[in-house]
Each structure stands twice: as structure tokens, then as C-alpha cells.
């Protein structure tokens, strides 16, 4: 004898919110690292120019 039960479908929106949060977090982490690397490059160029003039 067969039996088939039914159940409520789970809503999908919590998964969408979770994915957006993860993407947001990843985007924030990578963007922050890019800002730090750009600042260091500018300082090194200034130092090189100064040394040449002094000689």
C-alpha cells in the first residue's frame, strides 16, 4: 500500500539574501586590498627621484 505525503515548499528568498551577503563580503574584502596596494606604489616613486637629484 502506497503513501505519498506533501510538504510546504521552502521559500527561496533567505538563500538569495545569504548569497548577496557573501558576494558583498567578498567584494568588500578585495576592494579594500586594492586601495592599500595603490598607496604604497606612489611613495616609492617619490623616493627614487629625490636620490638622483642629490648626487
Amino acid at each position: 500500500m502506497a503513501e505519498i505525503k506533501i510538504e510546504k515548499k521552502r521559500p527561496i528568498w533567505p538563500w538569495i539574501v545569504a548569497l548577496l551577503l557573501i558576494f558583498g563580503l567578498v567584494y568588500y574584502v578585495f576592494l579594500r586590498e586594492d586601495h592599500v596596494q595603490t598607496g604604497n606604489t606612489v611613495e616609492m616613486e617619490n623616493t627614487t627621484t629625490t636620490d638622483t637629484i642629490a648626487e
Binding site: 500500500m1 502506497a2 503513501e3 505519498i4 505525503k5 506533501i6 510538504e7 515548499k9
Partner: protein, 169 residues
């Protein structure tokens, strides 16, 4: 809709419900009788929302069986002119209580092991455009289980489904 009063719904009407995990969604599967003859295909599942389970399988009956029953009606009319018949054009569906079948997940076939081809041929069908009422349910159960006490079919509420024919155990 009368079926709504009985908490009876086609599963595809309940957009927020689905067949539970670990149970087979048999829509589209073939259904056979006690002698392994094809009766038709499972077209839909009738569920009782309060009981959260399927109570009937809705079968789209094979044309061959419809033709056979039509031939039987014609023979009956030829032999007995006063007899009334119920089949109308478009009556191509019938219902089977879930407890009356077994499910083979490997072959994807539903087996009505206790119901013969002749019984299916004689069981009244309904038109899917019009749904069915409790009287139709009673007539179907009487056709499948003629030896059951008739008083057991008299309930008008969900107690109607507290029977072995709807129980999978």
C-alpha cells in the same frame, strides 16, 4: 468549489506545496491493474490539505479502456433497453484511493494490485473540467470495494478518509 469544502485539492493548485522528500511524485507514471494491463497515466494527485497527504491518484484513462467500456454500454443497451448509463464524451478521468496501489520506484509504475481491468472498465469516470463531488467518491469506492459495508461511506467530512483504502500502512 465543492472539493475545497472537503479540503481536497489538486497538487498543482497548491503552488506552495510539493511531494515530500523521500516520497515519489508519480505524476506521469503508468498505472496497471491486477493483471498488469495498462489502465492509464497518473495525471494529478488529489491531496487533503489538513492531512498533508495524497488521498487519490487522478488517472487519465487509456483510450482502449474507454472504448471497451463504451462497447460494454452499447451491448448493455442492445440487451436491455431501459438501462441508464453515465458516460459522456470527455469523461476520461477516474480516481483511485492511494491505499489501493503499490508504487515501484525502479520501473516507475503504479500497480493497482487488487483491482481488475473489468472493475476499472465499469467504474464511473468524470470530466476533469467539472471536478467531482462526494457522491462520485462514494460510487467509485463502491465499485472498487463492493463488499465493504455501505455505512462506511456515509461520512461527509475528513473522517471519510480515515479508512484503509486511503492509508498507506
Amino acid at each position: 468549489m465543492e472539493n475545497k469544502d472537503k479540503n481536497l485539492y489538486r497538487l498543482d493548485e497548491l503552488t506552495d506545496y510539493k511531494v515530500a522528500s523521500n516520497y515519489s511524485d508519480v505524476r506521469g507514471w503508468k498505472i496497471v491493474d491486477a493483471d498488469n494491463r495498462t489502465i492509464g497515466k497518473i495525471d494529478n494527485l488529489w491531496v487533503n490539505k489538513d492531512m498533508q497527504r495524497v488521498v487519490y491518484l487522478d488517472v487519465k484513462v487509456d483510450k482502449a479502456l474507454i472504448d471497451d467500456s463504451r462497447n460494454e454500454v452499447h451491448d448493455t443497451i442492445a440487451n436491455d433497453n431501459g438501462r441508464e448509463f453515465i458516460y459522456k464524451e470527455g469523461d476520461s478521468h477516474l480516481i483511485i484511493p492511494i491505499g489501493s496501489v503499490n508504487i515501484n520506484k525502479d520501473t516507475k509504475i503504479v500497480m493497482a494490485n487488487s483491482i481488475s481491468y473489468d472493475t476499472f472498465r465499469r467504474t464511473g469516470r468524470y470530466n476533469i473540467q467539472h471536478n467531482f463531488d462526494r457522491n462520485y467518491e462514494r460510487s467509485v469506492l463502491r465499485s472498487y470495494y463492493p463488499n465493504d459495508p455501505q455505512s462506511e461511506f456515509e461520512s461527509n467530512d475528513d473522517a471519510f478518509y480515515n479508512r484503509r483504502e486511503f492509508d498507506g500502512h
